[in-house]
């Protein structure tokens, strides 16, 4: 009675005419769905385990497999849907918290899909990026209010050195994913891709494995509430030090990497004993207020000799504008805002799906607030949380972002199919697991090429759209909301986004 059987979510359809009993699916499935029955010389499926990650479908040499939603479903009820019923049934058995992975998948409004981009016609020529320079280079870090120059023998020089600036060649960075959540191979993939692209990847809170120090010039090192792997060498390895206050997928809570995942290598990197749980507390235990944040920011500046910009990553929550403003005044050089579509390796479903606000609104109100307080140039703004395409990126930059953090998109480039089972550690794609049999499925060299291709592709598209707007440098797009108009938005939404309705005179 304790466990009530639940119907499988998915059906595994095997075309027996095509199947050659090669058992590739048996070996590749991380969830033990496929099984070879020697007596019958037949591969069969335990559908209950299937998470629809599509690994077997992709690997099957004869294309004999397909996965569909299980045609069986509960009596249609628009209030109590099948997810609610399944979750309640599971919790009735265990009394536990329902976990999930990746970002919020609920049909909440996507403001990106209700914003449209401008283009030039007649009065202003569009610019062809194939013929004219089109500049995406971006510098992250605080900017002074004005330049101060001196003249020495007729040569103009800066009167004082500028605050530390980190150059990226495209306004796209890889956001924090820790070693432990993902495999070392995937960490290396992102590090290699960032290096090739002239941008940055982020260690997340898992420390920096010794093999990855070679990519330090393209690394953001993160300091989170668990302080895993944080030491002097680590802080000084990165170009930017990021304090993680919150994560868009799970604002208000910490993280938990179970002891089973703490292998020798992860234990060394995180500086914790092998096999112990790595628990990141919900708050930093030395930050209970904004003045405490200031102390940590300046501790890190001291530790890095004021040579690195300090970033503060916060999740988009209700009072985001005031929080961001406080972080700037506390001394942050970069603010990263993570919206409610942001991904995770593990989060309670109730939190992932219901806590936080959309990145589009959060970004718009933060940029506006910082401008009203005349401190926008003191900080670079990074937007994160569910960016699906170059168009989303353009819209975020026009709303006010300096650059955009991506994690789910590069993981998809590596193979992820958003099955949302990251928290199980069973990932068939070898991304979110520490099982060496699976992690070797990702070849960092080849995977980095795929990630680079993706970013090159998006960058090309960004250049094309900028050219269409008659803009040849990314700084002219930043905060330039005159190039955005809304459809299907009400007055309040337009006001918060700071844009006009489609067709309205600019």
């Amino acid at each position: 009675m304790k466990h009530q059987a639940l119907p499988p979510e998915f059906s595994v359809i095997r075309n027996e005419d095509k199947c050659i009993q090669c058992q590739a699916c048996v070996r590749q499935c991380g969830f033990d769905v496929h099984e070879y029955d020697e007596e019958k010389n037949q591969v069969c499926a335990n559908e209950t385990n299937c998470v629809n990650c599509q690994r077997c479908v992709m690997i099957c040499p004869t294309k004999a497999l397909s996965i569909t939603n299980n045609p069986n479903h509960y009596r249609i009820n628009h209030h109590w849907n099948s997810v609610h019923i399944q979750n309640i049934s599971r919790q009735a058995a265990t009394g536990g918290v329902i976990l999930t992975g990746m970002g919020n998948d609920k049909p909440m409004p996507s403001y990106f899909d209700r914003i449209l981009i401008n283009a030039s016609q007649v009065s202003n020529p569009s610019i062809d990026p194939l013929r004219e320079p089109m500049e995406l280079r971006t510098y992250l870090g605080a900017k002074p209010d004005q330049i101060k120059l001196t003249s020495e023998n007729g040569q103009l020089k800066l009167a004082e050195p500028p605050p530390p600036q980190v150059r990226i060649e495209t306004p796209l960075l890889f956001s924090a994913i820790s070693y432990g959540a993902i495999s070392l191979e995937v960490c290396e993939t992102l590090a290699r891709a960032a290096t090739e692209l002239g941008t940055l990847y982020n260690t997340g809170e898992g420390g920096l494995h010794k093999d990855l120090y070679q990519y330090k010039n393209n690394t953001i090192v993160q300091v989170a509430s668990g302080r895993y792997g944080v030491n002097h060498q680590y802080l000084n390895a990165g170009r930017i030090v990021e304090i993680k206050i919150g994560q868009g997928a799970k604002p208000g809570i910490g993280g938990h990497l179970p002891g089973e995942k703490i292998t020798r290598s992860i234990s060394e990197t995180r500086m914790i004993p092998e096999g112990t749980d790595a628990i990141s507390p919900a708050p930093h235990h030395d930050i209970y207020s904004i003045e405490d944040l200031r102390q940590l920011i300046y501790n890190l500046k001291e530790a890095t000799n004021y040579q690195k910009p300090i970033s503060v990553k916060i999740s988009a929550v209700h009072n985001i504008a005031a929080i961001a403003s406080g972080a700037v005044r506390a001394g942050a050089d970069i603010i990263a805002i993570d919206g409610f579509r942001g991904g995770t390796g593990a989060a309670p479903m109730a939190i992932r799906d219901h806590v936080g606000i959309p990145i589009e609104l959060a970004l718009a109100v933060v940029d506006q607030r910082l401008r009203e307080e005349k401190i926008r140039n003191r900080v670079s703004l990074l937007a994160a949380g569910g960016f699906r395409s170059s168009a989303d990126v353009i819209k975020a930059i026009a709303l006010g972002a300096d650059a955009v953090y991506l994690a789910t998109a590069p993981l998809i480039a590596i193979g992820c199919r958003l099955c949302q089972k990251c928290y199980t550690g069973k990932c068939s794609w070898g991304i979110c697991t520490q099982d060496p049999y699976k992690t070797k499925r990702v070849n960092p060299e080849l995977a980095a090429e795929r990630v680079s291709n993706l970013i090159h592709g998006w960058s090309h598209e960004i250049k094309e759209m900028m050219g269409g707007m008659g803009i040849n440098s990314i700084e002219s797009l930043r905060g330039n909301r005159a190039h955005l108009q809304g459809v299907g938005l009400n007055e309040k939404e337009l006001k918060l986004l700071g844009i006009k309705y489609a067709g309205e005179a600019i």
């Binding site: 020529p125 510098y139 140039n377 700084e475 930043r478």
Partner: protein, 365 residues
């Protein structure tokens, strides 16, 4: 229909400017003839001029050029003027009837000095005090009254019509200046408002502009952080404020301010000497939001000089020429040759390379 300031109106244009670097003053006939040649680059919905050195007898006074749509506005503005300034001269701006000019507003000129205690009360510099009063009037009267110019020993003359007709209407042949700047407008959409014609002025700056700035939203929002009130929503206005911020407030040399509006490409900065690289990298990172993107050619008038500048891709025409002490710039070479058939030198300035003409050092005006 909405007035400028309530919506944004892009426009194409003709521009022309000239300076006698020896400081010799000459009448407005030449600049009218030059801009008249480019008649087809305007559509009769706006023209205007700025002239420097025209009021030598009042060179220490601010010359306020005002435009009033009705008497009650004039009464209100004059009470603001008399409250803040000692007025030396108050007069109608002389005009002649012209068939091309319909329904002109009331045009008045005042030579004034700010009252000391008013500046003291404002806790601002004299320039900031002047700029604040100008902005206050322009915003408060919502187009019914408008400060056309407010600098010393200079003035702007502008209105709805073809520029050559505006020049004759304002009797510019009777003024003598060492530098002239002219503008003919081709707005894509306008209610034909006198205040919306160009040049746009602020303190001693005057600016005429041809083009459409695609970075307008970014430029505007950056300037608002520095307390500029964007009243007219024109590209010209944001360019003027950008120059005011960079040169007057942040003390950049004009040559470098031009490199903010139209900066070198990163690939060129990467090839510069170490010191230059640092300066240009800082300029672009600090003032990136003042990059004027998209096509433009501008002529900036200021006391003692003019500067012409193209966007960095040179998406608008701009020609420069020299003849002795005379430096001329215009949208088209023909507009220069119309008044100066055999210049010593004619060239087409590269995108982002400012052409600056200043009075020789020994000249005092």
């Amino acid at each position: 229909m909405l007035l400028e300031g309530e919506l944004r109106i892009p426009s194409g244009c003709a521009i022309s400017g000239m300076i006698n670097r020896r400081g010799e003053r000459f009448s407005g006939e030449a600049v009218i003839k030059s801009i008249a040649l480019m008649h087809d680059r305007s559509n009769g919905l706006g023209g205007g001029f700025a002239a420097y050195g025209i009021y030598p007898e009042y060179k220490d006074y601010y010359a306020l050029h005002l435009m009033y749509m009705n008497q009650s506005c004039r009464d209100e503005v004059e009470s603001i003027i008399k409250d803040n300034f000692s007025v030396e001269v108050e007069e109608r701006i002389a005009t002649r009837n012209h068939k091309g000019i319909v329904k002109p507003p009331n045009l008045w000129r005042y030579f004034v000095v700010p009252k000391d205690y008013k500046i003291h009360e404002s806790k601002d510099s004299e320039d900031d005090f002047m700029a604040a009063i100008t902005m206050e009037i322009n915003v408060k009267f919502n187009g019914k009254a408008c400060v056309i110019s407010s600098g010393r020993n200079m003035g702007a003359f502008k209105g709805v019509g073809y520029p050559e007709d505006i020049g004759e209407f304002f009797r510019l042949d009777e003024y003598k200046a060492y530098s002239w700047v002219a503008h003919g407008r081709f707005p894509t959409n306008t209610p034909g408002w006198w205040g919306g014609a160009h040049p746009f002025t602020l303190l001693d700056w005057s600016i005429v502009h041809n083009g459409e700035v695609s970075s307008y939203g970014a430029n505007r929002r950056f300037l608002e952080m520095f307390n500029y009130k964007i009243a007219l929503q024109t590209d010209t206005e944001v360019i003027a404020y950008a120059i005011d911020l960079l040169v007057r407030k942040h003390k950049l040399p004009l040559e470098l301010a031009a490199k903010v509006l139209a900066p070198p490409f990163w690939k060129d900065i990467d090839r510069m000497s170490n010191d230059d690289q640092k300066v240009y990298q800082s300029l672009r990172t600090i003032y990136g939001s003042l990059l004027m993107n998209g096509p433009f050619s501008i002529i900036l008038g200021f006391p003692g000089g003019i500067m012409a500048l193209n966007d960095r891709l040179k998406l608008r025409s701009l020609t420069a020429a020299e003849k002795g002490d005379l430096l001329l710039v215009a949208s088209e070479e023909s507009a220069i040759r119309e008044i100066c058939p055999n210049p010593d030198r004619v060239w087409y300035p590269r995108g982002g390379e400012p052409v600056i003409g200043r009075l020789y050092e020994e000249v005092t005006i």
